[in-house]
Structures are given as structure tokens and as C-alpha cells.
Amino acid sequence: MEATVARTGTEGKTWGGGKKSPLKASYGKLMMWFFITSDALTFSGFLAAYGFSRFKFLDSWPIADEVFNHFPFLHGVDAPMYYVAFMTFILIFSSVTMVLAVDAGHHMKKAKVTIYMLLTVVGGLIFVGSQAWEWKNFIKGTYGAVETTGGQILQFVNTDGERVALKDIAVDLKEDRVVHERKNGVWYSTDESTLPTYSINEIKEGFKTKNNILIRTLENDENGAKIILSREESLAYMDNRAVNVVEGANLTHNEYGPPLFADFFFFITGFHGFHVSIGILLNIIVFFNVIVGTYERRGSYEMVEKVGLYWHFVDLVWVFVFTFFYLV
């Protein structure tokens, strides 16, 4: 028997095996850290791809302040970033209640854990709701724009540089407009789901009659502001290039700039929102487990700690999304 037992000479040392846990963490917590590390790489893949596209279109990327400038109950007021700042606070605060729940768990205080878990769930719900509202504004759009043959976006401003909405430009031509269907066109086209509010001809005609309206392109000048064309250039652009009316944003058209901007917005904030939703679900499960006393019987609130790790990670990701989508 003795011959089959390998003696490595490391018995009793940190990495010598046996009952000793070298990283001094339980299996569950270690696995949560594994997951978080790999998930962090997924998110950084998304954000790095966003950075790639942004560097690629360095001089024509939308300015975030102009895209996300809504605040509830303040219609038509330019409120850059206030709302995302509010969302950031909500998420940081729900992180605080989560870590307070973990701390109360260490001291086996069931009532406190219950309250803090509930607050965390509420914070998460407010955050996801806010994100839905952001999406709604982004999809609906504010001013509308026209698209050129090359897929560039042309926006409208008045002579003071203030944005002008399509509805203030268009004239009613009483046209007969039909929804384009694939069966009536080339095979690779897709069905139009709805017609834009105005046809491109209505915008073109209206633009000719309104002398104080100019076109703003996506390109930045040397100060980082978007270049505004002269009236003559604007008329020429409208005549020769404009082919489509764009209202709001989806995966293929986007009134704010390159469609890629909308794609990344939907995928990154969507993937993050999905994580938050999963986190809320886990928190609710833990919340009820706390109430029915599962952890009290188990003698340890470590499950709160593990779910807490995930929740803080979601907060951590938002800190980066906030910086790279809204600030930089």
C-alpha cells in the first residue's frame, strides 16, 4: 500500500492539496468570480468593438449630449446627461443596499437582510424602467433627418444653428404613397413596415421654400462641432443626394448618425439591461429565501454574498458603459 502513495513533499503547504483551500474562498464564490471574469471579457469585447468603430468614424460620430438629452416631464428642454446620471446613482445606490445586505448577513440579522434585499430589487427595477424609457426616446427620435445615397445623415438647422424638426419643413403634397413590399421590388429588398410621416419629396419641396433652413452634416470641424453647409450647398445636397426620410433609430437607419451607433447602443445597453434583469430575478429569489428562513437554517448567508458579487459586477459594467457611451 505504501508504494502507491506518492509523496510530493508539499503536504501541508498552500498548494499541497487535501482539505486546504489555497484561495481561501468557498467553491460557490470562486465559481462566481470565474463567471464574472469571463463576462467582463464579453463586455470589454463589446466596448472595444464600439471603440474600434468610433475610431473608424472619428470625425463623424454623433455627440452623445445631443442624442440623450431628454428628462421626464421636461419636454423640449435640453437636459444633456441628467437622466443617465440619475440612472447611475440608482444603480450605485442599489449596490450600496446590496453590500449592506451582505454585511447584515454576516451578522445573521435576518430582518435587516430582508429590507436591504427588497431595496436592492426596487433599485434594479427603477433602473431597468429608466433604460426602457431611454430606448423609447432613442427609437422614436426627436427631429428626424434625411439620408443620402451613400448612407450619410443630413440634419436640419436654422440660421442660428438650432435643430429644426421635419414637421416644420415638410409641405403636404397630397401624394399617393404606398408601403413598399418585397414582392413588388428586387428580391434582396425588405418589406417596409411603415411609411415615414413625410415623403422625401415633401421635405425637398418644403426645404426649397424655407430660406432660413440649412443642412448640418455629420462631419466635425476642427473644434469638434458639426459642419453646417451654406444655403446654396444645402440646396444642392437636397437635390442631388437626399433619398430617404429617417425618423428615430433602428438597426439599419438612424437619424443621429451612422447606423453602427444605434446598433452598439442597442446591443451594449441591451446586454447590460439583460444582465440587470437577471440580477433582479436572482435578488427576488434570494429575497424570498431570506424570508422563509432558508439561510437561517443553513447557518450562513453566503448566497446573499454570491448574488451580491454578480449585482456589483453589473454596476461595475454600467460605470464603463456610462463613460464610453455618454461621456467620452
Binding site: L23, S44, A48, V96, G150, T323
Partner: protein
């Protein structure tokens, strides 16, 4: 288990949580204010391919990330081995990915600028 490492007096742990919350809020407020007023001097000054303002945002973000991981995720109480396997692995891979993709993006930007007649047809 990890408990022995995290056991502190009730007061000090809770105090640490609230002070970290205070710092995180303060940093976020500073970021938002800077993002809204965009001081001319910071926007115009370029430092290693980027404006000073963007560098400030990135440094503040990393500081927030550090606080969340260390204080909220209890990284400061974990063993050195666990801390390094998570943080060093992540930082190295992310830095590498960013370096490669941003360099490539910048190269394509140059091609659009100089390498062809027009791409906005």
C-alpha cells in the same frame, strides 16, 4: 472560510460602505459637470492621441471600478492569489484587446481619409 477575513466590528464595515458611496457619488457628479461644461482647455489639450478631458474621464472611471471591486465586492479581504488571478488576467486581456482594436480602427480611419477618392458617394 471567507468569514474570518471579513469579520469586523459592525460599525467600521458599514462606515466604509457609506464612505465609498460618498466617493463614488462625488466622482460621478464631477464627471457629469465636466461632461456638460466641457472646459475648452481640457478639450483642446491632446495627450497621447486623446483630449485631456477624455483621459480624466477614463482615470476617474478606473478609480470608480477599483472602489466597487475592492470595497463592494470585498476584493480587499480576499486572498492575494484570488485577487491577482481575477484582476491581472482581466486587465491584461482587456488592455491587449483595446490596443489591437483601436490601432486597427485608427488605421481604417486613415484609409478612408487618404486611401481612396471618396467613400461618401
Amino acid at each position: 472560510m471567507a468569514h474570518d477575513a471579513t469579520h469586523q466590528d459592525d460599525g467600521s464595515a458599514v462606515k466604509r460602505i457609506w464612505s465609498v458611496f460618498g466617493i463614488l457619488s462625488l466622482v460621478t457628479i464631477v464627471e457629469v459637470i465636466l461632461g456638460i461644461i466641457k472646459p475648452e482647455f481640457l478639450v483642446k489639450t491632446t495627450f497621447i492621441y486623446m483630449s485631456l478631458l477624455n483621459w480624466i474621464f477614463i482615470v476617474l472611471t478606473l478609480y470608480k471600478a477599483y472602489l466597487i471591486t475592492w470595497a463592494f465586492m470585498h476584493m480587499e479581504h480576499e486572498s492575494k492569489g484570488l485577487r491577482r488571478s481575477v484582476v491581472w488576467t482581466g486587465l491584461f486581456l482587456i488592455a491587449y484587446l483595446l490596443f489591437i482594436l483601436l490601432t486597427e480602427g485608427d488605421y481604417i480611419y486613415e484609409v478612408y481619409q487618404n486611401g481612396q477618392m471618396t467613400w461618401d458617394f
